[in-house]
Symmetry: none
Subunit: 215 residues, 4 copies
Amino acid sequence: MKQNAISAEAKQQRRADFIASARRLFLQQQRLPAVADIAADTGLAKGTVYRYFQSKEQIFLALLTQDFAELFTALERLIEQLPQPLSEAAEPFADGYLKLLQQSATLLPLLALLNAVLEQNLPQPQLLAFKQQLAQALDTLGGKLAVRFTQLSPASASQLLLHSYALTLGLYQSTQLPAAVQTLLQQAGLAQLQWDFTAELTAALCRLWWGAAQE
Amino acid sequence: MKQNAISAEAKQQRRADFIASARRLFLQQQRLPAVADIAADTGLAKGTVYRYFQSKEQIFLALLTQDFAELFTALERLIEQLPQPLSEAAEPFADGYLKLLQQSATLLPLLALLNAVLEQNLPQPQLLAFKQQLAQALDTLGGKLAVRFTQLSPASASQLLLHSYALTLGLYQSTQLPAAVQTLLQQAGLAQLQWDFTAELTAALCRLWWGAAQE
Amino acid sequence: MKQNAISAEAKQQRRADFIASARRLFLQQQRLPAVADIAADTGLAKGTVYRYFQSKEQIFLALLTQDFAELFTALERLIEQLPQPLSEAAEPFADGYLKLLQQSATLLPLLALLNAVLEQNLPQPQLLAFKQQLAQALDTLGGKLAVRFTQLSPASASQLLLHSYALTLGLYQSTQLPAAVQTLLQQAGLAQLQWDFTAELTAALCRLWWGAAQE
Amino acid sequence: MKQNAISAEAKQQRRADFIASARRLFLQQQRLPAVADIAADTGLAKGTVYRYFQSKEQIFLALLTQDFAELFTALERLIEQLPQPLSEAAEPFADGYLKLLQQSATLLPLLALLNAVLEQNLPQPQLLAFKQQLAQALDTLGGKLAVRFTQLSPASASQLLLHSYALTLGLYQSTQLPAAVQTLLQQAGLAQLQWDFTAELTAALCRLWWGAAQE
DNA sequence: GATGAATGAGAGTTCATTCAT
DNA sequence: AATGAATGAACTCTCATTCAT
């Protein structure tokens, strides 16, 4: 039996351990791992997982929340450093944003599952809370963006971010192929058939922001 | 026992029946219906489904392919009717495109499942073929767009369409909530908290196309 | 894969096989066996069990129903052969009844579980239907008893049977010890401490019926 | 953390608290409550329960023992007050007995679980001890009954009580339906389909005792 | 003496797919 | 060609009990 996590910090740590295992296994298996796997990976028992999370999906919602929190924090800093005017900011934003996205290997794959899988199995209140948090965060970030680029109203800044987010999600899903298929393509020398997520997102974001800058 | 489908037309019809049932049940159930349900709805037996499709997911891939074909045909006509110049075409395109999207109740919900669910259970070659068809179709359409708006190279026209598609997919997933949650929100008088897919997509497409028109 | 049960008879047989396995294992294990055990014992797969029964508890409800049906059929004959007058019938009834009870090793143990376990896990409609069938059967039997012993009204004859049934159930539970405990007692030479179900039920039924005969 | 219970009285009190919580929750939940619930209801921790009881079932065995002790004490007084002769005592006994039964809301429901659930999870020695206590108590009570009604030998008096007890247990289980099902029936206006425990037990006890009086 | 974190066996059920008829 | 019976892997979650603190 592993040492009991009694202090609040120890509990927090244990929770983080489960999330870390979930992240690792999700990347390995390319799908939501079984709770048994997560427990085994953490070196704790299956039942213990359920002391920290109400359901399997909640683990991944927590992981997603974590990833999002990091991303948003970093985005705040990124926005503060964007050059003026807005039309000049598009490319630096796209570059910086893509770097941030690459820092979490799980964010985009999980996001792609969010609607299809997590939503089906998450209690509605949690799901709603998550979505509202996300909306809130976008709104806050939009506020900062509007402060920096005064030509943007807070509402249209938030909207620009929402659209950027949607573009990210949509392009990721359109351009990404299962790892196995990618290997296949490369072996066949057909890699060029595939769109490149990074390049496309950069291009699309620039257009979107330029579009916004014209208004 | 229903009569055997011997002629090629009869087989084709049977296949279409399964797809139609799949579509109907998908809309009803808000998730991929069980094969047993599809068979029952068609009035045939479960095993028969597998004479026409290799797997459950293939039925929905076929359904998606159908929806896409219709959409692309209609988009061709839409593009031909867009006003000049490109900057003036954004809004008419967005309006026309949204109308087309609304004509297939299944297209967007299925698309939202595509990556998460269908990709997991579809044999790689089929998946690849589908994705390449989609790329091909976008490319063809991009060609037509470039013919009409000569400032766009075929490549950048295709790209614009890819980005528009990604925006559609991403915004749909970001703005859509499960039906049950929506009901919940409306009862609570919180409907205004939700983004409106149509409005956002229109706005985003306009910005994207304007952005493209500036280049 | 075992041969498919296609004809109605073959299906009936398969269903009976599952029930027979359930009976055998229940006796062996002294508790409701797992569905996996029943399937294994039948030589079929777990999922197949669920083609024939909606839940584990329903298997045992079916077993109980079967046992009851046999008992009631036999009781009808027994009643027809009871000597007159009623006061002389008590003992023959008790003797005959006890012989019948001994013919199903599962009836009483299952009955003892009925309220405590099955009721908790059975859908209410099934439970209700079962209880009503039982009441119905007792009533029918009461009718026959009243025909034979004209001093009994149908209502009081049914009541007498209900009370006899209750006595059976109650005495079985009061006098029966888990098999392991019985062994223990006998090894300790303490067997005489235990009441004997058969003797007690005989005595009690006689008193009950005599009491009824006096009215 | 509640104060440690150091004195014997404090420990006894704590034990009683657990039993009281168990009783309350059993009535509320209509099934054996979880240990966590009992602990929470008492304001102590789960582990503490196991300092006072070896298992969950032992709590309920203690509860049952308590209820039985009260019942037997009261029965002694009831027996002393029964009118002569025995044939006249049946009805007063039944009436008095039923009143006593109603004084413990938990006695009968727990009894109905005794064989099915408690016996499965109780260590054999405890179970045996409990059953022997019950037998002993019935025997003692039988002795008093034989003193009052000299036509009854001590053995047959004890037997009469055993049979009365069995009748109680059996009728309770036969006539009782889960609360939810009862509600269902009443809504459907089918309440009359159900036997009435009190009426049936009264009638049956009278017959049983009259039968015994004839011997 | 009290705590409550950790345990982990245990079980029921679904459903896509196969294949004997 | 159609059938539908059989398959069996997959997976979550509960909760009585233990034991380190």
